[in-house]
Symmetry: C2
Subunit: 95 residues, 2 copies
């Protein structure tokens, strides 16, 4: 199992557009084999912080995800709406 | 529902101690009413990044958690093992 947290710092005037585009990404990704969880979350105190929290069966499923058409077409668009580079962490569960 | 991501940057020589203490916190917290998920995760590329990812039924459950004996006794100990202040985000799910 592998977990990913991708934290985006979105330009203030681009938050609605980011959410709209990210919704499509979530919808397509949830249909992928090996995807256990994939959700979009908004910070309670700063609505411009938008984070995707993911859970994958294994690294292969995550690698396949990053080659899908929806990933390759939507993720660069999301990046262009960011104020600064996103923070991505890949995690293994300890307990 | 409320989600929390608490990202700790732990002193390199304190990683094992952090994990040991955090395991106890996880064990106690999972028994709390209103706790849906509560796990400790280690970054695949930097083992000194240790993150607690949480899911709570509501804000009241999270508030109660922060008053429990295990929270009040263990969280400060974890903080003392950190290299720099932890990053905490409270999230609501968008999709």
């Amino acid at each position: 199992m592998i977990n990913v947290v991708a934290k985006h710092f979105v330009k203030e005037d681009k938050v609605a557009e980011f959410i709209e585009k990210a919704k499509k990404l979530v919808e397509c990704t949830l249909k992928e084999e090996g995807c256990i969880k994939y959700g979009l979350f908004q910070d309670e105190n700063n609505p411009a912080i938008l984070t995707i929290i993911e859970e994958w069966e294994n690294k292969s499923a995550l690698d396949r995800h990053m080659k899908t058409e929806h990933f390759l077409s939507i993720v660069p668009v999301l990046g262009a709406l960011d104020e600064k580079p996103k923070e991505i962490n890949l995690y293994k569960k300890v307990v």
